[in-house]
């Protein structure tokens, strides 16, 4: 792990304060009303946290991925939806920072604007008709004679789509390209027509506000990231998603544990001298949480080491398997921790309006296995295991 820089310390101090003073205060209301965590995102904007990963040469903070990961944890601990919005935004920024290429004027200008205006970036990666396969697209980049390009894409979910300022969209490279021959395009909302499809009333992660959209855009060809999306995905989008999501899930599970512990402590105070009935279950819960924390922490270190060292290894199948395993393990362990916390707190945890409520945590954590369905990841892994050697 690298030594924390001033940028890291500044980011974390700010995000911790926002998590405690803003995200925590509005979390229940955000969940109940399925509304965007606007106060938290505004506070993060005021802190300059949306440009945490932008290089200093473009005016950004250039914080480490470790500090951003820790920020996702801190936010997730107080409001899962706010943590997830922050995490997803940082994933799109990381893709642009990593893959815009040398001297990419359009992307450099956009990143400068992201710093000064604190633009919120969402992604349009899912598509109706692809069966959840992010590695294939139907919609395509279509160039016209005037040197401009356009697309029209039907997305079943666009996280915080109604609130984002810009969108990173996956598309086929051209109208005659194969489904897997994809690129990623960054477009500003002003260049787009976003027509909302359907409602947003899900079980958990309600504040992410992720209805479907038909997205249309007209843009300049230099808004297309210059490397194939397969490279963007393998080196950055997929592993960084799994790492930052899992930090949010760890945050949610940690708060569920904290509530179970507070409940057990309160019970112990009522009957001094007697071990509270839930204490053993709390200890079991702690063991489950520590497993989750270990995997999430180790994966972060391994990825950061690879990025700083042998970047070529990021594309290897053994590496892809490793970070897929993180996603599967964390997405199954986090709801397990929340459910066990509910077992410790009992009816007081089941009710939505007590200091020991963990219903929101459990519902939020249950989204984890759907964010790129674990069944799909297992399907990919099942074929990679057959050929990868050292896994």
């Amino acid at each position: 792990m690298s030594v924390a820089t001033d940028a890291d310390t500044a980011l974390l101090d700010g995000v911790r304060r926002i998590a405690d003073e803003v995200a925590a205060v509005h979390a229940d209301e955000v969940d109940k009303e399925a509304r965007f965590p606007a106060e938290t995102i505004e506070a993060l904007r005021a802190e300059g946290a949306l440009s945490a990963l932008v290089p200093q040469g473009l005016g950004g903070l250039e914080a480490s991925l470790e500090a951003v990961a820790r920020s996702c944890f801190e936010l997730g601990r107080r409001c899962g939806a706010a943590g997830m919005v922050f995490a997803m935004h940082q994933i799109q920024v990381a893709c642009m920072v990593d893959h815009r290429g040398e001297g990419a004027a359009w992307f450099d200008d956009f990143l400068r604007e992201l710093v000064t205006k604190q633009r919120l970036v969402a992604s349009i990666t899912s598509e109706v008709g692809t069966g959840g396969d992010m590695g294939s697209s139907i919609a395509a980049v279509t160039e016209n004679d005037a040197g401009e390009a356009s697309f029209e894409k039907q997305a079943p979910t666009v996280s915080y789509g109604p609130y984002a300022d810009a969108f990173l969209t996956t598309l086929r490279r051209s109208p005659d390209a194969e489904p897997g021959d994809q690129v990623a395009v960054l477009t500003r909302r002003e260049q787009m027509e976003m027509v909302r499809q359907g409602t947003w009333d899900p079980l958990g992660m309600r504040g992410t506000c992720s209805p479907g959209f038909v997205a249309k855009a007209t843009f300049a060809v230099d808004q297309v990231l210059p490397v194939p999306f397969s490279t963007v995905s393998a080196e950055t989008m997929t592993p960084v998603s799994h790492i930052l999501w899992s930090q949010v899930w760890l945050g949610i599970a940690t708060d569920a544990f904290d509530r179970a512990r507070a409940f057990t402590k309160a019970a112990a105070k009522r009957k001094p001298g007697e071990p509270p009935s839930g204490a053993v279950r709390l200890s079991e819960l702690m063991a489950e949480l520590s497993l989750l924390r270990a995997e999430v922490g180790l994966a972060l270190r391994e990825y950061c080491d690879l990025r700083r060292g042998d970047r070529a290894r990021l594309s290897e199948m053994a590496t892809i398997l490793r970070f897929n395993n993180l996603k599967i393990a964390a997405s199954e362990q986090a709801p397990k921790v929340c459910q066990q916390a509910l077992g410790v707190c009992g009816i007081v945890g089941y009710k939505n309006d007590t200091p020991f409520s963990v219903g929101r945590h459990l519902r939020d954590a249950m989204s984890a296995r759907l964010m790129v369905a674990n069944e799909r990841i297992h399907g990919t892994d099942a074929s990679l295991i057959l050929i990868a050697k050292d896994v």
């Binding site: 021959d181 594309s315 290897e316 074929s383």
Partner: protein
């Protein structure tokens, strides 16, 4: 060697075109090979040439063309 590579790609690559018509440096993914099919190609190549690829070679870019596959096979000891 390239003839045999073409044969494996034809059987396992599920391309949208006949591999016989592809140049040695043509991009197989742009010719319709999916990630899943590429794994099957890798397994079939190991079988056909009786070799094992190293983990460092098991990545998308190494299997993107007949040329790059031939280079990988040479690296693990297959002679042209």
């Amino acid at each position: 060697m390239k003839e045999q590579i073409r044969k494996v790609i034809k059987e396992h690559g599920h391309l949208s075109v006949d591999p016989e018509t592809l140049a040695d440096d043509a991009d197989l993914y742009q010719a319709g090979m999916t990630s899943h099919a590429s794994v099957n190609v890798m397994i079939a190549l190991e079988d056909a040439f009786d070799v094992e690829f190293l983990d460092s070679m098991l990545k998308r870019s190494v299997f993107e063309s007949i040329d790059s596959i031939a280079a990988a096979l040479t690296e693990v000891g297959v002679s042209a």
